[in-house]
Symmetry: C2
Subunit: 305 residues, 2 copies
DNA sequence: CTCTGTCATACCCGGCAGGTATCACCCGGG
DNA sequence: CCCGGGTGATACCTGCCGGGTATGACAGAG
């Protein structure tokens, strides 16, 4: 054993004392470092110098009585506790940001005590056209309808939007989205189709199976970003429906989509029902602890469609 | 109109600027004031003087660009935005507290990167004896079983425990508990019984209905605390099973319980099955974003019982 | 051996969180 | 009608700490 026995902070008489209260500033700093794994870049991202950041992280570690980062020469890596704080801290910061945003919005339309009367609805750009239309029309006809702001977002961003308060309610599609942590109601369920170039031999088939679609020579299936990253594979990386539609029309890829996608297919596309694909279920989802009356009304309307 | 037209903060050129970042200290302060509705008591609870607290709240309101409290002479009350921040802020503070606790625990058993190997399981004291026993035994037999610490708590505290990180997983019983915001798996479902004093006339019945039990002359149904407060009603306010058992035995009240409660009934009790009570469903529940391997193992074991 | 890239240390400064003293105000009681 | 109690707001001061700059320690590449 070497001279440094255990914790060398000899003044640590009250280490691990009570509830060290974890300021959001510290969380922001730690998340930056944990994501960059580099104090310099993290400091730059935070708009501050590197030394105070180092010190802040050290203080955080001392206050928690836990080692979060292992500083090997040449780079930094997360310890087990660091990984835990990375996940939990993200959730905590999201919740804090959500509190600020929702409070500000509630005050902006400041009626004395009637909560807010404006809802932000997040959805995948272009998805659930038909359903959304019916929902908005039906809800607008309600007597005490709030104003609905539609917030189109990328493929999997709705969860983040709900979590950090940029949205109050979202339309989500399992199995693409995860409903973990939200309350939700099922709105509809639909089968899936394979979308092929119109001239492709398989386009004449009455039905297809997932296995057949996944293994067409020369037509690798398109890859969508899942939480910011693309799964490895041969297919093209696409970001939105327009890209996808074009690549299919050009005969470069194939995609599996809900049947409602027929609404926006091109003339150069062919759609073939899939026999064995699990259905796509559309849900309306909202933060589990929400207490908004307007939201409750919207959900009630949605479930009656 | 008087001189103060609308917002008198004339320097508010950059009000509602970007993301005002809401420190946890501010949240703590605001929650204290919002709960006490009294600056002096809130300051005392926070262990500080009243003037800095007033100032901090004012700064918070200015930074959010929102009025949170209406200071009527003689007392303080929440505005709409204030109520929103009360709810959202509680959630946010719980999340930060959870982050701190879980990180600290992860570091305490500090293995380099194997996450933590100790789970805290919260449950209603005395509930689900049988099921819990089988679960613990089965899980202990698993090859890589983590250590399980059982944390008995009051009637509806499991949700809070999960939210603020004092527990990692809980056994919950719908419809008593709400699963909102958690992931969960159903473990078992059971009917309910009315528990009466042994000598009571209705104790001879083969079955009863909810309506009959709710309206027995001289036997008002017991009232449980629901999130800290008791619903109004004539029945006695009880806090735990022992109190309840005693009051029933004394012929003062009647209760509707899951059939598994038969395990701890007294000789002076009589149990009659209910025909129309919705079943009690036992779930194992955990924070939606949890990534613990040990937790996954426990859930797998539980669903296989 | 030197140079470079990295994180830690040393030191200083300004802002702000917190304390004390006091004010402004309403309200109830004599 | 005036006065005292109780409330939150204001004024002012002070010490701490968050943040900056300069520099050190150390490992690896060449």
């Amino acid at each position: 054993m070497d001279t440094t026995d255990a914790t060398d902070t000899t003044d640590a008489t009250d280490a691990t004392d009570a509830t060290a209260t974890l300021e959001t500033r510290e969380l922001r700093y730690f998340l930056a470092v944990a994501e960059e794994l580099h104090f310099g870049r993290a400091a730059e991202r935070l708009g501050m110098a590197q030394p105070p950041l180092s010190r802040a992280i050290q203080q955080l570690e001392r206050r928690l009585g836990v080692c979060l980062l292992s500083r090997n020469r040449r780079g930094v890596s997360l310890t087990g506790a660091g990984e835990v704080l990375l996940h939990e801290g993200r959730a905590a910061l999201d919740a804090t940001a959500a509190a600020a945003r929702r409070t500000r919005r509630a005050g902006a339309t400041g009626r004395p005590s009637g909560h807010r009367d404006r809802l932000v609805l997040a959805l995948k750009a272009g998805a659930s056209h038909e359903l959304l239309h019916r929902l908005l029309d039906a809800y607008a006809a309600e007597p005490d309808a709030a104003e609905i702001e539609v917030l189109p977002c990328g493929m999997c961003e709705q969860e983040e939007m709900l979590r950090d308060g940029r949205a109050d309610v979202a339309l989500m599609h399992t199995p693409y989205n995860s409903l973990a942590g939200f309350d939700s109601e099922e709105l509809m369920s639909e089968g899936r189709i394979a979308v092929l170039p119109a001239g492709h031999p398989l386009a004449k088939r009455r039905t297809l199976s997932l296995a057949e679609v996944g293994d067409i020579p020369g037509l690798p299936p398109a890859r969508w970003p899942s939480h910011g990253t693309y799964a490895p594979g041969p297919g093209p990386e696409i970001r939105d429906q327009t890209q996808l539609a074009q690549l299919i029309a050009l005969g470069r890829t194939v995609a599996v989509l809900p049947v409602s996608a027929r609404a926006w297919l091109w003339a150069e596309h062919a759609a073939v029902p899939l026999t064995d694909a699990p259905p796509v279920v559309t849900h309306i989802a909202w933060p589990a602890h929400s207490r908004s009356l307007a939201l409750a009304g919207l959900v009630r309307t949605a479930t009656r469609l």
